[in-house]
């Protein structure tokens, strides 16, 4: 053992170095986020609670019941029923359910939807006491959208996975190619009817 090594051993040099680092860290800014008060920034494409985009024109969902999302879903948690309308014989969406407890949040459904009707929103605080509350029906999915847009600061919303960057857009369906940002504020005419809905939901929370 050389003298240097002996000195190192006797004076706990390496431990003191570690202590010095710890002390230095004590004086730096804390990196912890105090969660309920402080919040992390949410990046584009965040996959949170499911919602149906409320079409600003019709105030209804845009889904055309093409079944693509139900077919691609790896956990098979989307149930769709379509029926024929007696008046004109056209198919319409009778039932659309997402079982959020089974969802694995891969976001495939958002990406395959040809009309950009479905979205995984930036909501992440939606725990519930019962399973039924996390079984999203068509109406609940639209409600989710209203709740989400009410919190959104921007006036328009565009999900990253509706039309991902960097892939050849010319091969995408027309609805996806032409999809622009969706206005998140209700149009002036329909403003009074959508506001009571929001307040009603907040009370149940």
């Amino acid at each position: 053992m050389t003298l240097k090594e002996l000195i190192k051993k006797v004076f706990f040099i390496e431990i003191l170095k570690g202590m010095a680092l710890t002390f230095k860290m004590m004086c730096t800014r804390a990196v912890t986020i105090q969660y309920p008060k402080q919040r992390r920034r949410i990046y584009a494409g965040f996959r949170g609670r499911h919602a149906f985009v409320r079409d600003p024109k019709t105030q209804k969902e845009k889904c055309i019941a093409c079944m693509r999302c139900a077919n691609i879903c790896p956990s098979q948690c989307i149930y769709i029923a379509k029926k024929k309308r007696p008046e004109d014989g056209k198919l319409y969406l009778a039932q659309y359910d997402i079982e959020a407890l089974r969802c694995i949040y891969c976001g495939y459904c958002v990406e395959v939807c040809p009309v950009c009707a479905l979205v995984l929103t930036e909501e992440y605080e939606y725990s519930a006491y019962t399973r039924e509350e996390l079984y999203f029906t068509k109406e609940k999915l639209l409600e989710n959208w209203d709740e989400f847009t009410a919190k959104l600061k921007e006036d328009t919303y565009f999900n990253k996975f509706w039309r991902p960057d960097g892939i050849d857009h010319s091969k995408l369906p027309k609805g996806k190619r032409e999809q622009g940002p969706v206005p998140t504020r209700p149009l002036p005419i329909s403003e009074p009817e959508s506001s009571p809905e929001k307040t009603e939901k907040k009370e149940t929370d």
Binding site: K9, E14, I15, K17, G18, L21, T22, M25, V31, Y43, A44, G45, F46, R47, R68, N71, I72, C73, P74, I104, Y105, C106, G107, Y108, E111, V112, K160, F161, P164, D165, G166, I167, D168
Partner: protein, 405 residues
């Protein structure tokens, strides 16, 4: 003297796990102890078995991709890439350059994130608490980079067959570059805390020694093998993605003990960092998805013939046969099989597919490094002290999600 001779001792059998904080999951070890010494060690696995392989056989290739996130949940991005590379070779898809570079960046970020979790838990098990705090702080940075790219932090599902799901933006590249500048300093911080620390040295040096021969015979891969001095790395031996276009070294140890494996992984931090840096500098522009990539709604039925059967072969796919065009239905399904290994942070992750020409794999087998590494535990633990079992579990970097599949 006579009293001592009359003392009868017998072996004590104890259960370590499946619920034990230091087994990194639900690993159960049955230890037979003679005092403090381990005489016999038997690992039992399978507590986290979810039937991933069988599930994969009931899903089309794009639908089976999210399952791989849940294998090794600490390095989900690397598992995704491994799956995608395997399916791409099977279908004969050439990935665009930009996607290759993005994937390489992601794979190396994953390697750093995984090793961060490894150093955090390993050091915590052995008794160094502070490293845990510092390394978790830095992991957050990587998870944020993931989120920038794809919106998810843990179960990312970012790569897809034929490329990646979405291009990365300038913000990601800037942050990533900043990360590569800052990260070597962070590695130095970890090293300041434990590298020369006498407690750390005593707990790791000469513990769990595996010679190169033993390590190869046990089928170990990754840093666990390289710690024994075998420079085997899939990234060098069978390059995929952009690994043949970047320069990096494969760090190896000498003795093959816990400390050498620790040194290997610490060196891999720096190598991964330099790979990310090189990729960022060389990043080409263009699409991130191959034109002939299957869509998400890939049919479960027989696959269509490739548009151009004489497409140029991928450089890395020279050793694997180009899938032949499907046989007519009368002749029965044309079976193809392929095994593709990728270097995930824990070792060699292999996907073995048998395809009957449809959109679903006929058989999907996953060669999980953690499963193989678990079999090295008896060799390492027998004859050592009970306290060293913890160090040995930590050093093989086991994740039970992957081990039990």
């Amino acid at each position: 003297m006579s009293v001592k001779r009359d003392l009868k001792t017998k072996l004590l059998t104890i259960n370590m796990g499946p619920q034990h904080p230091a087994t990194h999951g639900v690993l159960r070890l049955v230890l037979e102890l003679d005092g403090e010494t381990v005489v016999n060690c038997k690992p039992y696995v399978g507590y986290l078995h979810r039937g991933t392989e069988k599930l994969g056989e009931n899903r089309t290739y794009p639908m089976a991709l999210p399952l791989t996130d849940r294998l090794d949940y600490v390095s989900s991005m690397a598992n995704n890439i491994g799956f995608c590379v395997a399916v791409e070779r099977l279908l004969g898809i050439e990935v665009p350059e930009r996607a290759k570079y993005i994937r390489t960046i992601m794979a190396e970020l994953t390697r750093i994130a995984n090793h961060i979790v490894w150093i955090a838990t390993h050091a915590l098990d052995i008794g160094a608490m502070t490293v845990f705090l510092y390394s978790m702080r830095d992991r957050e940075w990587i998870l944020e980079l993931y989120e920038m790219a794809c919106g998810a932090r843990l179960t990312v599902t970012y790569p897809r067959i034929g490329g990646v799901r979405a291009d990365v933006d300038q913000e990601f590249l800037d942050h990533c570059y900043k990360f590569t500048e800052e990260f070597p300093k962070r590695v130095e911080q970890y090293e300041t805390l434990i590298d020369q620390n006498r407690i750390w040295l005593q707990r790791t040096k000469g513990i769990g020694v595996l010679t190169a021969e033993e390590a190869i015979n046990l089928g170990l891969t990754g840093p666990t093998l390289r710690g024994s001095g075998v420079p085997y790395d899939v990234r060098k031996f069978a390059p995929y993605d952009a690994y043949d276009k970047v320069e990096f070294e494969v760090p190896v140890g000498k003795v093959g003990d816990v400390y050498d494996r620790y040194r290997c992984r610490m060196e891999e931090f720096r190598q991964s960092n330099s790979i990310i840096r090189q990729c960022l500098e060389k990043m080409p522009s263009g699409y991130v998805l191959a034109a002939d990539a299957p869509g998400y709604d890939m049919a479960a039925g027989p696959r269509k013939k490739p548009a151009q059967p004489s497409a140029p072969k991928a450089e890395g796919a020279a050793d694997t046969p180009q899938p032949p065009a499907n046989q007519p239905a009368e002749q029965g399904p044309a079976f193809e099989e392929i095994y593709v290994a990728t270097e995930v942070p824990k070792g060699e992750l292999g996907f073995y597919f048998v395809s009957d020409g449809t959109g679903k794999p006929y058989r999907m087998r996953i060669r999980a490094p953690s499963f193989v590494h678990a079999s090295a535990l008896p060799k390492m633990c027998e004859g050592s002290l009970v306290a060293d079992v913890i160090a040995n579990i930590g050093t093989i970097d086991i994740v039970l999600g992957e081990c039990d599949r």
